[in-house]
């Protein structure tokens, strides 16, 4: 019994220590004046985490918009309210689905790749050798990836929403015959720029920070063996997904739950 309590306490301390370490890690990586070289490294990472994630994010956005329109239509038509389809698709996407689903896809596509890449650099002593050359790997390797993730995910989320709304249009208007004017008009009159688009973007930025932070920290902090890399990659996806869904509830409660 005592052993169990001791074990629990030790685990608690380990978790706190890891949180402290990751906080320091974030502070040391994120601060600092970007140099010309830093911009180049950041652009390169924007390509890897951002541009290469475009396809999966946009295709998913298209299908989710189409499914939303299809499901929404079958329910709304019973009440004769299919004119509200545009409003429903847009609000669902902007407030919830785009930030959350794009973040989950980003964690699976880019987050796991970041962890594996940094982890492999650690396992092959590339990070250590960089330190011995007198270059701080936090600034050279971690910072560009962190900032690239932080900028790329909100942009991908915008793309997700745009394509999703178009997917809804294809199904709702082109296929099911909802009046085009009411699809766009309903959207225009009901979507608030700050309240809906703005809050969705704030969510996306929070998710971007959390997912990228988890991914680069897991890569930097892992045990440098094949098993260590595989565990850390899995942890990145699991922790990021849980963090995104948990934070989404908190943010939704604060933004739309009547607290404000």
């Amino acid at each position: 019994m005592i052993a169990h309590i001791l074990n629990l306490g030790r685990r608690g301390c380990d978790v706190l220590e890891a949180l402290g370490r990751s906080g320091l890690f974030l502070a040391q990586s994120a601060v600092g004046v970007p140099s010309r070289e830093g911009w180049y490294l950041w652009l390169r990472q924007m390509h890897f985490v951002g541009v290469l994630s475009i396809a999966i994010v946009l295709v998913s956005g298209l299908f989710i918009g189409m499914v939303l329109a299809l499901q929404g239509y079958t329910i709304l038509v019973d009440f004769g309210a299919e004119q509200a389809l545009g409003q429903m698709v847009a609000l669902s996407l902007l407030r919830e689905l785009s930030p959350v689903v794009a973040a989950l896809l980003f964690a699976g596509r880019a987050g796991s790749a970041l962890t594996a890449e940094i982890g492999l650099m650690k396992a092959t002593e590339q990070l250590t050798s960089m330190e011995m050359i007198g270059v701080d790997p936090l600034r050279r390797v971690v910072a560009p990836r962190l900032w690239a993730g932080f900028v790329a995910l909100p942009l991908l989320t915008i793309g997700f929403s745009v394509v999703g709304i178009y997917g809804g249009y294809l199904v709702g208007v082109e296929w099911l015959g909802v009046f085009e004017g009411s699809y766009w008009g309903g959207m225009q009159s009901s979507v608030a720029f700050i309240g809906d688009v703005g809050n969705g973007m704030i969510k996306s930025m929070v998710f971007a920070l959390v997912v990228t932070w988890i991914a680069v920290f897991q890569g930097y902090d892992l045990v440098p063996t094949a098993e260590g890399i595989s565990r850390a990659t899995t942890r990145t996806v699991v922790y990021s997904s849980l963090a995104v869904l948990g934070l989404d509830f908190v943010l939704t409660a604060v933004m739309f739950g009547g607290f404000s």
Partner: protein, 270 residues
Amino acid sequence: MIESPLVEVKGLHFSRGEKTIFSGVELQIPRGRITAIMGPSGTGKTTLLKLIGGQLTPDVGRVLIDGHDVHELSRKALFTLRRRMGMLFQSGALFSDLSVFENVAFPLRVHTELPEAMIRDLVLMKLQAVGLRGARELMPAELSGGMARRVALARAIALDPDLVLYDEPFVGQDPISKGVLVQLIKTLNDALGLTSVVVSHDIPEALSIADYVYVIADGQVMAQGTPASLDVDEDRRVSQFVHGEPDGPVPFHYPAPEFFRDILDLEGRP
């Protein structure tokens, strides 16, 4: 015997978890010479290099490089000091996304403002020194283990450091590569006026180029001296190691219960 050593290790204690790695190590690395640090596997030779390079912090004790206490320096000052050091890692540790040329150019690009033409000349000179000028366009994945280590050596000396640390440079090399590396370490040390620290358990290779040797075992300096004096050392632990005898004070067997009792599964019985 040593006048103004470049590196001094004083009263070094270091442990990892429950395991004590060093308990009171004292070393002095003379300037302009090759010092070999030898010892059986698992005695913490690589750890010692990491302590000298400031990547690990000792529990007690100091490491002085040219009078600077490595572990008292700020992060920025430590990185500045490291520009005067080169380190050759066991794996080579080349940056896998950069070509051979760019790997060697890396320290020059990040620490100097030299024009591109001069960087090119310097990189080709360093590659020429290790015999790989023709391999400049290759990627690290296309190199053999020995070639990767030579490129890493060219990178380690790119900024003309005062001190080069070699971590097991001969491990896993074929006889030709070994010979090339032995000759390179010696030639570069003499030609560039470096101070070299070679951590190794390849005795013939290390002894053939070292000016001074430390043997480390059980967390302490077990013996020190010139290669010739170690060869005739009468301490049984030293002679076992230097002459590669399979059994002796360092036992062949990992600690275990008495063989007869163990095989009959009598342990724990009266």
